[in-house]
């Protein structure tokens, strides 16, 4: 029935799909900008480091929320677990070598993600939202009460973080090492997330997001997929938290509170969910806005962010990147009529 000359596998849509994981021309720009920042703003590397950590954290959330469609309000739980893993091991003198500490943070956060995911992901919607919130609240309370180990409300300060690779000092006043270190970890993590997102596994996550019921009907082990995704995401959030503890040389309860969970959600929604680069755009927009709004209106700056979020939720469901994509489509449609 099909003429061999018109092989459907060579159809433009098939070819586009086959090559969709290839890097776009503009993708290196993001990383070049991050390097330019290092040289252009040597006095703002603390801000830059914080920004990069936020991006990594938002990326981990994008995997569960943007790709798999798991609506969670408790993602800071994993950030906090990562931060406290690094902090407690270093503070109590067990282990503080930066890179292996980070891996331990990832493993512990992944285990917490796996354990809570096995329970949470049996539920959906509002129940899942509340349970994720409860999990985080429980961990926060545990960190608060166990002050012998966690430092309680004050947290653990002056963590002894040794030189990176025995060469580069983590100087809190001039965080050059932190910036480059965090940027490197972000880049590696990003490559990993990008691979997962464009894999058949990543595609099946989008299927679960779009129609969970149909995924059952195509024979997909939905819950196993979700738990796997949640565990990976938790590990990455744990790395982000571990980096935060190392970069600041302290941990405290802010690492696993609702404020941080809400912040990362706002960042992602602002930038655009399910797009990977939404995390970058959202984090930059959020942190820059928060920075300037806080200077302008020291007491009420969060009001401005709240207002922006309302505008985004009402008029631009796909965030800043979504606006950009829509403009680009319109521009292309004008240039190529028909």
């Amino acid at each position: 029935m099909i003429a061999p000359a018109l092989n459907p596998a060579l159809h433009p849509a098939a070819l586009a799909f086959a090559g969709r994981h290839q890097p776009r021309v503009w993708e290196p720009i993001v990383w070049i900008l991050a390097l330019v920042f290092y040289f252009a703003f040597p006095n703002h590397l603390g801000f830059g480091t914080e920004l990069l950590i936020t991006i990594l954290f938002a990326l981990s959330l994008d995997l569960v929320l943007g790709y798999a469609g798991i609506v969670t309000l408790g993602h800071a739980a994993f950030f906090g677990v990562g931060a406290y893993t690094v902090g407690m091991l270093a503070y109590h003198g067990f282990w503080n070598e930066p890179i292996s500490s980070l891996m331990l943070a990832a493993i512990v956060a992944a285990l917490v993600g796996l354990g809570s995911g096995l329970v949470l992901l049996r539920t959906q919607g509002l129940t899942l939202l509340m349970l994720s919130l409860c999990t985080m609240a429980l961990l926060e309370e545990a960190a608060n009460l166990g002050h012998e180990y966690t430092g309680g409300f004050d947290g653990l300060a002056s963590l002894p973080i040794p030189k990176l690779l025995g060469l580069f000092e983590f100087n809190p006043l001039y965080p050059r090492t932190q910036y480059v270190y965090v940027l490197t970890v972000l880049f590696i993590s990003f490559l990993f997330i990008r691979t997962v997102v464009y894999s058949p596994f990543g595609q099946s996550l989008t299927g679960i997001r779009e129609n969970t019921l149909r995924m059952h009907a195509v024979g997909s082990p939905v819950r196993a997929r979700l738990v796997t995704c949640y565990t990976i995401s938790a590990a990455i959030a744990g790395i982000a938290g571990g980096l935060w503890a190392q970069a600041n040389a302290y941990v405290n309860l802010t690492t696993l509170g609702l404020d941080r969970a809400a912040m990362v959600l706002i960042v992602l929604i602002l930038g655009g969910c399910g797009r990977m680069y939404g995390a970058f755009v959202g984090a930059v927009a959020y942190m820059v806005l928060a920075h300037f709004l806080a200077k302008l209106y020291p007491t009420a700056w969060q009001l401005g962010l709240g207002f922006l979020l309302v505008v985004i939720a009402l008029f631009a469901r796909n965030g800043i990147l979504g606006i950009g994509e829509a403009l680009l489509r319109r521009f292309r449609a004008k240039r190529m009529p028909r």
Binding site: A9, A18, N211, M215, V218, S220
Partner: protein
């Protein structure tokens, strides 16, 4: 002579006091073209939900090739060869047509758990998905989002996704429902061209289609099997004409 593929014994499902399906003895043969007809609310969709595992029965058994699959969940039944379409589209609306079929095919061939290779590198999966789309004349919509397609085309995607599972048993729940009659023939042609290796059970309201397509017809009324036979037998049965076919005087 033909082998029995899927069969039910005393299958029943109640919703509270309502027995939506009860005491159904049914058999689908390999390669069958079998139609299930009956008035609205007769329990046809519920019956397909029981066969595909979307619902658990309150009574009775479902047997696939001699194996009791009553307790087996939906996703695992797919692996055993049962696929279905839905009366109301259940598609990945925000994804492209190709992605929709890719997801089904990749689950079937076991590619979907792979997270370290690009989806685009699975040329076998893409090729198979595109061939299915070509068969259903959907290839020119391959790159479009399902939500952008007219409803009739979406119904075709619904079938393409099920065919991507290479089923032995295909359950079609009113595949042409909601499609303007000018377009419904495209869908029914596609159904007519399905491979003879598949046993097909189709729920359909259009009697012309039923009599053209089916080699066997089961009539369901009030959750029970009211009659079963060849199209000739069903058409000749005066009781069925009275109960169900009354409004189709041209039969």
């Amino acid at each position: 002579m033909t082998a029995c593929l899927l069969e039910t014994n005393a299958l029943g499902r109640s919703f509270g006091a309502l027995a939506a399906v009860s005491g159904v003895e049914f058999r689908l043969d390999a390669g069958a073209r079998h139609a299930l007809i009956g008035p609205n609310g007769a329990g046809k969709t519920t019956f397909i939900n029981l066969l595909s595992g979307v619902l658990q029965p309150t009574l009775g058994r479902v047997v696939l090739k001699g194996r009791d699959i009553t307790g087996i969940p939906e996703a695992r039944r797919v692996k055993l060869g049962i696929a279905r379409t839905f009366q109301i589209n259940r598609l990945f609306r925000g994804l492209t047509v190709l992605e929709n079929v890719y997801i089904a095919v990749s689950e079937r061939v076991g590619a979907a758990a792979d997270m370290f290779r690009p989806a685009g590198a699975r040329g076998d999966v893409i090729r198979e998905a595109m061939h299915l789309l070509a068969m259903l004349k959907l290839e020119d919509d391959a790159g479009r989002r399902v939500s952008e397609l007219p409803y009739g085309r979406q119904r075709l995607v619904e079938i393409a996704v099920a065919l991507g599972l290479k089923p032995e048993v295909l359950l079609l729940d009113e595949p042409a429902a909601g499609v303007p009659s000018a377009e419904s023939h495209i869908i029914l042609d596609a159904v007519g061209r399905l491979s003879k290796d598949i046993g097909v059970l189709i729920i359909e309201h259009d009697m012309d289609v039923v009599f053209r397509f089916a080699e066997r017809i089961t009539v369901m009324v009030g959750g029970r099997i009211f009659a079963e036979g060849t199209p000739k037998e069903i058409a000749a049965d005066p009781e069925i004409r009275a109960v169900y076919l009354g409004q189709h005087s041209h039969v």
